[in-house]
Symmetry: C2
Subunit: 465 residues, 2 copies
Amino acid sequence: MTKKKSKISSAAYKQLEGIVGPDHITDAIEDRICYSYDGTKQKALPDAVVKPATAQEISEILKVADAGEIPVTARGAGSGLTGGSVPLHGGLVLDFQRMNRIVEINKVDMLAVVEPGVVMGHFQAEAEKQGLFYPPDPASADVATMGGSVAECAGGLRGLKYGVTKDYVIALEIVLANGDIIHTGARTYKSVTGYDMTKLLVGSEGTLGIITQITVRLIPLPASLRSVVALFDDTNQATDAAMRICEEGIVPRALEFMDGPAIAAVRDYIQVDVPAATEAILFSDVDGADITTEQEQNRICEICTDAGAAETRTAAGPQEREKLWEIRKSISPALYKIAPNKLNHDVCVPRSKVRALMRWLDAVVEEATVPVIRFAHIGDGNIHVNFMFDHSDKQKAEAERLSKKLFKKVINDFQGTLTGEHGVGNRKSKYLPIEIPPRELKLMKEIKDLLDPKGILNPGKMFWP
Amino acid sequence: MTKKKSKISSAAYKQLEGIVGPDHITDAIEDRICYSYDGTKQKALPDAVVKPATAQEISEILKVADAGEIPVTARGAGSGLTGGSVPLHGGLVLDFQRMNRIVEINKVDMLAVVEPGVVMGHFQAEAEKQGLFYPPDPASADVATMGGSVAECAGGLRGLKYGVTKDYVIALEIVLANGDIIHTGARTYKSVTGYDMTKLLVGSEGTLGIITQITVRLIPLPASLRSVVALFDDTNQATDAAMRICEEGIVPRALEFMDGPAIAAVRDYIQVDVPAATEAILFSDVDGADITTEQEQNRICEICTDAGAAETRTAAGPQEREKLWEIRKSISPALYKIAPNKLNHDVCVPRSKVRALMRWLDAVVEEATVPVIRFAHIGDGNIHVNFMFDHSDKQKAEAERLSKKLFKKVINDFQGTLTGEHGVGNRKSKYLPIEIPPRELKLMKEIKDLLDPKGILNPGKMFWP
């Protein structure tokens, strides 16, 4: 490996050291390696890592970066799935581990103020202790940070009933590329004072500004939560049951699907108490008043049985519920038992196209020369399609061919979208033009240029090239 | 009245006539007068009114406007409350009465596609026929258009449980200032493909682009709806009851307050079956499963009685419900019985500040030399404060003095916002700097300049001067 020239001059490094103190900056190779990857397993070394403690420090850091045209990539837990936090162009990684305070959880105002380094799962738990609920819940919530989840507009398991991150973020503190600190939104339930800059920043993947404080609205914690797990010997029956649940007007907070190969993968990973004939599992969570969740749970069991379920299971309490969900939650780590690499997609289609997409994917699975694993937030139409591949160029090329085929089908024939919740990062940026026409892309790039004229914020992400 | 020079040259007028046809353009004074005002009663004459039928026609119209630097103001029903649709700088008004098609209501995809000229109330009713629900519900829904409601990000009576317009708009077709037609968002339940341009356009008051098609998500129509009306002899008891309902974790879909002077105004307007001692009324609507609404209705009655309500009333069916709500819905027209003019504000504060704001307003009412009327989406913290005034300069100046005092208090002392749902328009633009610091305002103006470099879209709105 040839040593690349650092994009941070020694003078700039000194300045940065002066801002955060020598304990909170490093350019040691062993540290840089730790900040070189994310959930995509791609790697790119930063030239240095800084660990600021305040928005003011970040402002000063960005002034140095602006002067030296140093790339700056914000990084939470590095659990993203599209390369969002990988410092592709080197430069500086901002690590938020020292900005991990829950500033406030306010039960009267039904909101919380957090720093970006707060771990989502920790924040959710703290809110729940006060009878409050923060619905966004990506599978990575136990490690992912609030900053990363806002930058990527994370979705997750509870999207069907409760929406995604952008539906909860009401105000932000942002440091702009030149170091200016701005505040967007308001602390109120609603506000139309000026343009909505908050929603523009949510999901902008660290390309428009650095998030330094987040205000989210909270809702009352639902009184009751019940689960149904239904086992099917046929994939299409499971899809059909999911669609029937939605069409009846039931809105489960989670409605999750996994296919036969996903079950098989989990079998290799943990002990799975599911018959060998099971080709699909449907997981439903309903929440609300105790009396309504009981009714909905029973009705979901009936619908699944009518649709052909071999078996339905319900949970009597939190522990049984945990057990029921264990198979679903083990998918991601289990996949690496099948192959060392994956192109994992999260296309999303309108609900009326879910059946057709699943059938079309049946044919793709037949044709593919690499393993294909499907699981889904099926109620949202958000289908996770994983093309697994080994270290050979041949399998990699096949996974890429299938990816492109999937995106074209979803966008051109099924009125769908490239990514429902994972974001664009660099992994999907070359596919962006399939969905977004040139004029719209130009407008987005103009907004990027307006907020980050030197292109120092997370270069190489979102747009292509 | 001296005749101002038209901003539309006769050559440009000819071009516009060629685009829409001679039946759909007018510069007759009697027509222009009809398009000169909105709910604020301020007036400014346009030079001409065009009634396009398609986005393509609007694109061609904007090319003419761009070439001639002709101001273009989009107008729905003219029911806005901050001057959004008043053509302050003359030029062209776009009237959407010919673009009034409900393109699609899709029960499987849980969404609808509408043209901007569709009347909200009509659309709500059509959705409800299919068991679907479009929650945004400003008091003007029976006349307001979908285009206007999106441009202003309308709120309304159901905001507490269901949020505001931006929470439902998922995709837009927009004509940019230079005539380019763009599409934002996706038809899917969620999408993070690129920046969220949709939410930037919602609430931008016609200053960033012309909305030509709107896609909104819908939710299942709640099975049951129940109402409680509680009468109080003391304003602060009513406020207290409202806060206790929220603090207990009940989320009514509407939680509305009106004060004694508001009741008195309505008494002069319709027959009101309320005791003379009543100084405040609290209206609650709860929806959901029949069993839970019954429980919540009963609990709300208890909470109100505990807080000191002289009387609580419930409705047995839709007609009784309508009767209960009649007083609340008569406020706006009744106000003009008090004085011919009003400065009507919709400040919003965090819920923890509602009691303090209401008490502070008690003192303002004492001090004021003009009538002050309060009603509120009190659960949202969205307090409507109306300073009434006659034709004298003295009363007008007093209303303006009180307005500024209110805004400063709300923003500086109560962590609140200038406008919860009415928008900025021209009526509040001079107060924008109280809430939004210079750097943030500069950024908003830069976005305006990016999308509308010649400043032809609704000039004089949002920013000051």
